[in-house]
Amino acid sequence: MKRLSIRDFSLVLALVAIVAFFTIQSPVYLDPRNLSNLAVEFSIIAVLALGVFLILLPGQTDLSTGSGVGLFGGVAAVLIYNQGWPAPAAMGAAFVGAVALWALMGLLIVKQRIPAFIMTLAGMLVFKGLHWATIENSTIPVKVGAQDNLFSSLTTWYLPPSAGWAVVAVAVAALGWAALRARARRIAHGLTVEDRDTAFAGWLIPVQLLILLVVVLNQFNGVPLPILLLGVTAVAVFILTRHTPFGRHLYAIGGNAEASRISGIPVERTIVIAFALCGVTVAATGFLQTAYAGASTSTIGQFLELDAIAACVIGGVSLAGGKGTVGGVLFGALIMTALLNGMTLLAVDPELKLIARGLVLALAVWMDVALSKRR
């Protein structure tokens, strides 16, 4: 039975403190308009963090995702703007490229025994170079003229309010159904369950947050599309990690790779697939981030790999592998976004912003080490 730990509480406290600080500094922080931006930024970091999560779980690492985000956003933009491709085709091509490159990195890591740190550090440089070459160091808009396309609409299209409510209703019902079903099964198998009130609260709190989210977002333009994409990604990663043999294998490899091998788990194949799946999220994040900026420029995706890793670690994913949950990653991404968005809002100097990002990363890893020592 999972209990809330000191760690979980300190995370909630950290978020409250961050929100309180920025709200006092800048009252518009909690305005629907800014919260809508925050939701989009949150989706961007969280989608990438969920991909990186799949790589951290088996004890690997990926430093190249930020460069990949820039590259594949740039590839799609160039194909649309310079080559006149239809947006879906351009995005499809970029998707294929990302998956192929990430699978290749995974293969080199497991077959040639290049440590993931070095392989993806090399990837970080190579992809950055490819990105700059692709856009020829210029600014490539995501749409031709004023004509919106699938790519440019990614971050500018909002669900109509009624559709937002419909989505929430479905989500609330699904959450309730899943919780009831899991509870019934545990009871049927004679396992301990939380008492009814706690279980109800465990459902009610996220439900209230979801409803609050839609109320706030509907005061502006409605639920932005990226939130929906994040929802789909999160559900997919959740099912993958918790309810498939592949997911179990990820946790087992991170927990004890040698024992996993002896247990008959295809360790190498599992790691390659994890990288390929991360490639999917890299391309998706690339589209979102580039569309959000309106154009591919040389700085798109810069340091995003570190934000994604920080989000994972803050959310309780162990850098040694084998530990972490989708919920934790989402929460970690929320803390990172709240911080980055607040600093942008206050027009903090870029120098200071970098320093703050670095300190948060160090703090998160230190927390990981300090909390995993106690046992």
Partner: protein, 510 residues
């Protein structure tokens, strides 16, 4: 009588669930070479770790005396201060550093805060010359053979002004000419008044250099003999000791068709050093337990791991599993074809310690619980629960963390994971090591159940009584080759040990 330079008085060392030393007393006279002999698991390693301060004062009962006075080592450094140097089985040298650097490691001579390179090399040269060892102090240790590395270790220990040198299986990895050199150096040390504790399975070495032999068995001193007044047979008899009691409830049935046939198998490590397997042949039939015995480093685990697909490269021979060729499998292939392995090191190779019992038990069988790619949690739970109960794992429930269980219960989880795959051939590598008697009996009962259901079991064990008590047939390995084959009830412990040691003593081929 002279005061012993080092002595123990009724040492008792307990680990959770096991008593490793149950009262070890012996004394080491100045300038003697004193052998400590015992079967695997008799408590030799624990004794060394206690003498060298790895198990600090307070973690054991009884006394350790240096020069007649009781000492209380808080750690290795204290033991070194008292002049006790230990050479472990595993070398502890830095391969990238030179001979001189390794000898001076941790006490580098300095001048003005900087390492005095010339002084360090001089020091090493003097020490090497003193013991007639012909080595250039500036050679990188990694380029030396194992034998010379061993000598560097000894010189390093002696450089700390050791009066007592403890050598734990120092010749395990040495070629015969290197052994001869080492034994000469030990005799030279004896002339200089340095006392040695010599731990080895190789009785001919023991008889070649040692003055006295102390035999320990089941963690207790059995006797101390003057080498000149005893012989190999007497030593082996004391090492084996006990009668085999009804501790081993083997119920043998009729053996059926062969399930696993190994012919002329030779294999070498895929990378790095290690034992080479030569010309190994055996067969296991349905309903049968084949025991594999031998001393430490004989290649028993490697043989099983190789057939299972987790060790080494085949150089010759063939393996047939249930009538089908079984060559170059992955562990996954082996499991799918009905061969599982319970490894010796359950923490390193058997379990994901941070995960739950259920997670670990179903780990090898997940595909079976997947419906359209999704795990059927109910089916998985029901199966886990049935193994949890059948193996009588003592834990609150399936969600308990495996890392928190006792050794015996951890072992049951590993066995449960193996059995859940529905195997027809089960490899058990030291399945009862470090678990208590009750859990042992349950493991033996499981072996009976498995063979009664028409499966075959290969049991590797270092404990001769267990091997003889639970196996229908036994092969003894030594130095990666088969030293003898025996049938249950028609062999004595002496014969088995002789076969293992004979295989050890056999001259290396090529």
């Amino acid at each position: 009588m002279t005061t012993p330079v080092l002595a123990t008085d009724q040492l008792v060392k307990r680990f959770p669930g096991v008593v490793a030393l149950k009262g070890v007393s012996f004394d080491l006279r100045p300038g003697e070479i004193h052998a400590i002999c015992g079967e695997n698991g008799a408590g030799k390693s624990t004794l060394i770790k206690t003498l060298s301060g790895i198990h600090p004062h307070g973690s054991y009962e009884g006394r350790i005396l240096v020069e007649g006075r009781e000492v209380a080592f808080a750690g290795i450094a204290d033991a070194e201060d008292k002049g006790i140097g230990v050479i472990y089985q595993e070398l502890a040298l830095v391969p990238e550093m030179t001979v001189a650097e390794n000898i001076a490691l941790g006490r580098e001579p300095t001048r003005g805060g900087l390492v005095d390179w010339l002084g360090m090399n001089d020091q090493a040269r003097t020490l090497l010359a003193k013991f007639n060892i012909n080595l250039d102090p500036e050679t990188r240790v990694g380029t030396l053979g194992v034998g010379h590395q061993q000598l560097v270790e000894i010189v390093r220990a002696l450089g700390k002004d050791s009066r007592v040198l403890i050598l734990d299986e120092p010749t395990a990895a040495l070629a015969s000419h290197e052994v001869a050199l080492l034994l000469e150096i030990l005799k030279d040390l004896r002339r200089r008044g340095i006392a040695c504790i010599y731990i080895s399975h190789k009785l001919e070495e023991v008889f070649a250099v040692c003055d006295r032999i102390t035999i320990i068995r089941d963690g207790a001193t059995i006797t101390t003999l003057e080498t000149a007044k005893t012989n190999r047979d007497e030593v082996i008899r004391h090492m084996v000791g006990r009668e085999i009691q009804d501790l081993f409830p083997r119920r043998a049935g009729e053996a059926g068709a062969p399930l696993l046939t190994v012919r002329n198998l030779s294999a070498e490590p895929a990378e790095g050093d290690g034992i080479t397997l030569k010309d190994i042949a055996f067969e296991v039939r349905a309903g049968e337990v084949l025991g594999i015995g031998g001393l430490m480093g004989a290649g028993r685990s490697e043989t099983l791991m190789h057939i299972f697909g987790a060790w080494g490269r085949r150089t010759a021979g063939s393996v047939t599993l249930k009538g089908q060729p079984h060559d170059a499998p992955t562990p996954g292939d082996s499991i799918r074809r009905g061969l599982v392995m319970v490894t010796e090191d359950r923490k390193k190779l058997g379990l994901v310690l941070d995960e739950s019992i259920g997670f670990n038990m179903s780990l090898s069988s997940l595909e079976r619980f997947a419906k359209k790619g999704l795990l059927d949690a109910s089916a998985e739970f029901v199966t886990n629960q049935s193994f949890f109960q059948r193996l009588r794992v003592k834990a609150p429930d399936l969600e308990s963390r495996v890392g928190g269980l006792s050794g015996g219960n951890q072992q049951k989880v590993v066995i449960g994971k193996a059995l859940m795959t529905g195997p027809s051939v089960v490899f058990l590598d030291e399945p009862t090591r470090g678990i208590d008697v009750g859990a042992k009996l349950e493991v033996y009962e499981l072996i009976n159940e498995l063979t009664a259901a028409g499966n075959a079991v290969v049991l590797v064990s270092s404990e001769l009584p267990e091997l003889m008590g639970m196996s229908d047939r036994i092969i003894m390995l030594g130095e990666g080759r088969v030293g003898g084959a025996f049938v249950r009830g028609q062999c004595t412990p002496d014969q088995l040990l002789h076969a293992a040691i004979a295989a050890h003593a056999a001259p290396p081929s090529r």
